[in-house]
């Protein structure tokens, strides 16, 4: 066990955990933020995507100790009221079906637009291909990212 400080969505949490526990389970089951999802456990599906110091990472594959004192943003932290331009675009384009992958999709899309406010199709493919959607909402994800980009012009 190790004393770890998790800085999640601007709030510090002191936890005492197996340092090897993946960050995902600490976020979900220790801190209790359930918006970040478990999909594959090996960084292949992107459902667990969160931002670590602003970079999108797969929280299922990062030991919690590696996130000690770093800034973590989860889906619950990107806006207080579904008001982030990416979330608004997701509503506008009616993207989700089952919705299970969408926290991860949105976290990847937010990170993409922070780095590249006006991505091309190829940029979107490169940034989003790590996020699997079994319902197949890719066409809408692509469109919603463009809608969000256009809104910030």
């Amino acid at each position: 066990m190790a004393a770890i400080t998790l800085q999640i969505n601007g709030k510090a949490h002191q936890v005492d955990l197996d340092p090897q526990m993946p960050l995902l389970w600490a976020i979900r089951d220790v801190i209790g933020l359930k918006g970040t999802k478990y999909g594959c456990g090996i960084g292949q599906c992107g459902a667990c995507t969160v931002h670590l110091n602003g970079q999108p990472i797969r929280s299922c594959s990062l030991p919690v100790s590696a996130a000690n004192n770093l800034a973590i943003t989860t889906i619950e932290g990107i806006s207080a009221d579904a008001g982030h331009p990416v979330q608004k675009a997701w509503i506008e384009e009616q993207v989700p079906q089952c919705g299970y992958c969408q926290s991860g999709q949105i976290m990847s899309a937010v990170a993409l637009l922070q780095k590249n406010p006006h991505p091309t199709d190829a940029d979107i493919d490169a940034a989003m291909r790590g996020n699997l959607c079994r319902c197949g909402t890719y066409q809408r994800i692509r469109k919603a990212i463009k809608t969000a980009a256009a809104a910030s012009k």
Binding site: M1, D18, M21, P22, W25, R28, D29, V30, G32, L33, K34, G35, T36, K37, Y38, G39, C40, G41, I42, Q44, C45, A47, T74, I75, E76, S79, A82, Q87, W90, I91, Q94, V95, P96, Q97, C98, G99, Y100, C101, Q102, S103, I106, I124, D125, A126, M128, R129, N131, L132, C133, R134, C135, G136, T137, Y138, Q139, R140, I141, R142
Partner: protein
């Protein structure tokens, strides 16, 4: 509108007591008694109106991404004359008033409820109008409903529904209320924004795996990697030394005719359970199944193809002696086993206390969890149905997988051995390797084309294991399993001589329905072979099909629309190919056209565009229909082009998305969806958008390359 959990519902309405909501019997009696505690009134079990005007619509159809969270309440709200943002939607959890409708599958929810739930809304509207007209002493025909109010037309005075609920609840509901005319619809047929989406983009939507029960433990289960093997013994001494591990128990899981025993590690966190599971030493009796391989089994199926099948349908004389050898064509098609891969892994929290069971999960079959039938959960776990309480949550993908109770049965059997509630989570590897899977079907096809280019005969023999047998349905092995010949005798083509048949193969791997069931494989064989026959007849494949559709039919309308929207009659530039296919089956009907570009140097194909025409009869939310069909195309593309599930040494070789990949965004084509509603007959949405994709794609590849693909999966980067 918000998702209402049982707890918050009780809090907000003051309605208390589990029995009140689970013990509802009869359509109008108990519900009203329960509701009166909060002075709220159930006009029907589906509609609860509070004195302050709050309106709750009860939704018996679980939401798994198909849009029932919105489509089902819309049927009621439209006729009740309320907008969706005026109402709270509450998903039901097995209340008897809704028995028989608390499940989702077969693309049935809307087509199975369209008239019934509109009548529910309309009859409630009519008693609200009568309650108002009685109080005012005016004729009911001078009153109308709008936005949750009854208005007296001549004076403009009004009552809210909340003010009328008490009186309205005393009136008898009309059996045949007057339904609105389509031209007056405000919700139905409109692209209304889905109320579950804000929950799903903020992390607030609660899925089964997000369920949190005070004091709960976690479990991870080691199952025999050789399918069919049984547990001999296990040594948990190292596991029990793992920090956080509480207990190690046997875990019995039943799926169809199969019973499996695994070893469950119960711990105070999921991570600790996984660590403890890694330290387990288990001995299995693999009973000879360790010799099983898919490659050898596929050879068995090929050999079985030589057998005469049991007849499904016949018409005319398939062995017409006048057919010349050079008019005949034969082909053999193969398809793979695939996993469902719902992105939310299987999970269930179970709590067993005394003789009572409480469950938190995501399931497609609420009725089977609380039902009294012989196949329902109570019979599998030995707990009385009236003692089972369910909290069903949003479903992170169903695709047929969550029609099965196996993961609930296993969780209950684990929880019986724990004094605290236990959350069982299947890892992705578990979800990939233990089934039930969609089975493969192999198809022997033969046909003949006359000198005038018309189809004379068509024969489709299916060779496969039986889903009905695996599922434990009453099935006579010497007869046709109707599920395994789904659709092949039911296409609208006017073929003078037709025969469809089935050869059953033994199999020891549990198999199951997968989105669009057996149509997901049979349409590939059937519609590719129609294409082969069109080619033999030297005819355009779409016109060849239309020539077999002389009489008006839904299929004919759909194909004519496809011809129009694709500019089918205009030839494509060189290097491009276009193929099409259609499929009609129990769930509905659609036709697809796929346009591809062939890169000869790389021998690869790129999908340029997919067109889909889907025939519905009526549409509730056209934007959601488009979303469903776009997604169906992607799911069908995964199954057509990505490696399936194979066994070697009795074990599933694939384990996760690294070695069992699914279609990703950079591989996703543009999909253009057209919805037809002229046919009248109500058809489904969720599944019919899938089956024609694979054959339309293979037919397009043939047009572009001259290479005929007869085996799924097929690669797009190395054709042939």
């Amino acid at each position: 509108m918000k998702q209402v959990t049982r707890r918050s519902f009780i809090k907000s309405t003051g309605v208390t007591g589990i029995g009140l909501w689970l013990g509802i019997s009869g359509v109008h009696g108990e519900v009203r008694k329960a509701a009166s505690l909060a002075e709220a009134k159930n006009i029907t079990p589906y509609i609860l109106i509070e004195p302050n005007g709050g309106i709750t619509i009860f939704n018996p159809r679980p939401e798994m991404g198909q849009g029932t969270f919105q489509s089902i309440p819309s049927l009621i709200a439209e006729e009740l004359e309320v907008s969706l943002n005026q109402v709270t939607i509450r998903m039901t959890n097995g209340e008897k008033a809704f028995a028989g409708s608390q499940w989702v599958g077969g693309s049935y929810s809307v087509r199975g409820s369209y008239q019934q739930l509109r009548k529910v809304g309309a009859s409630a509207r009519e008693v609200l109008i009568r309650a108002a007209s009685n109080q005012w002493g005016v004729g009911a025909d001078t009153c109308y409903a709008e936005e949750g109010k009854i208005i007296h037309r001549p004076t403009g005075k009004s009552f809210t529904y909340g003010e009328l609920a008490e009186e309205a609840a005393k009136l008898e509901l009309p059996k045949e209320p007057k339904l609105k005319e389509a031209k007056d619809f405000k919700i139905l047929g409109k692209a209304v924004k889905r109320p579950d989406i804000p929950l799903k983009i903020t992390g607030q939507a609660v899925f089964g795996i997000d369920s949190e029960v005070p004091g709960m433990l976690y479990a991870s289960v080691q199952r025999c990697p050789v399918l069919g093997g049984t547990l001999k013994s296990f040594d948990s001494s190292d596991t029990l030394k793992t920090p956080g591990v509480v207990k190690v128990v046997e875990a019995v899981r039943k799926v169809g005719i199969y019973t499996y025993t695994g070893v469950a590690v119960i711990a105070d966190s999921y991570w600790a359970a996984v660590q403890g599971r890694r330290a387990l030493k288990v001995e299995w009796d693999t009973k000879g199944y360790e010799k099983f391989s898919s490659a050898a089994y596929d050879n068995t199926l090929r050999a079985l193809a030589k057998k005469d099948g049991v007849i499904d349908k016949t018409k005319g004389n398939i062995a017409d002696g006048s057919i010349k050898p050079n008019q005949k064509l034969q082909a053999f098609y193969e398809t793979p086993v695939v996993a469902h891969h719902t992105l939310e892994p299987l999970n269930c929290v179970a709590q067993v206390k005394d003789d009572k069971l409480e469950l938190w999960t995501s399931t497609q079959v609420v009725d089977s969890v609380v039902g009294t039938g012989p196949g329902d959960l109570h019979a599998q776990v030995g707990i009385k149905p009236e003692n089972i309480t369910l909290h069903n949550q949003f479903i992170g993908g169903g695709f047929g997988r969550r029609l099965y109770l196996d993961y609930l049965i296993e969780a209950v059997n684990i929880a019986k051995q724990s004094d605290k509630p236990v959350k069982v989570i299947w890892s992705r590897e578990d979800s990939t390797q233990f089934g039930p899977f969609r089975p493969m079907t192999f198809s022997q096809l033969s046909g003949s084309v006359g000198a005038d280019g018309t189809l004379i005969s068509f024969e489709h023999k299916v060779i496969s294991p039986s889903m009905s047998e695996s599922g434990g349905d009453e099935y006579d092995k010497n007869k046709v399993d109707g599920t395994m010949v789904e659709g092949i005798g039911e296409q609208d083509y006017e073929i003078p001589n037709l025969k469809t048949s089935y050869v059953r193969a033994d199999y020891h791997v549990p198999i199951a329905a997968w989105r669009s069931v057996t149509s997901s494989t049979l349409a590939f064989a059937h519609e590719c072979f129609i294409d082969e026959l069109a080619h033999k007849a030297k005819k355009d494949p779409l016109l060849f099909r239309l020539e077999m559709l002389s009489k008006p039919s839904d299929t004919k309308r759909v194909l004519e629309k496809l011809r129009e929207v694709t500019n089918w009659d205009k030839p494509l530039p060189a290097g491009k190919g276009r193929g099409m296919a259609q499929w009609k089956f129990f769930a509905g009907l659609s036709a697809h056209a796929v346009e591809v570009t062939y890169n000869k140097a790389k021998n690869s194909v790129k999908i340029d565009k997919v067109y889909v025409v889907i025939d519905l009869g009526e549409v509730v939310n056209p934007d959601n229909v488009r979303n469903q069909v776009e997604g169906g195309v992607i799911m069908a593309l995964s199954a057509a082009t990505k490696p399936g599930i194979t066994l070697e040494g009795g074990k599933v070789k694939q384990s996760n998305f690294n070695d069992n990949p699914q279609t990703r965004i950079h591989e996703a084509p543009t999909v253009e969806v057209h919805i037809l509603t002229e046919g009248g007959e109500l058809k489904g949405v969720g599944e019919p958008g899938l089956p024609p994709l694979a054959p339309a794609l293979a037919n397009a590849i043939f047009m572009a390359t001259g290479i005929r693909l007869r085996k799924m999966p097929f690669s797009l980067s190395n054709i042939g």
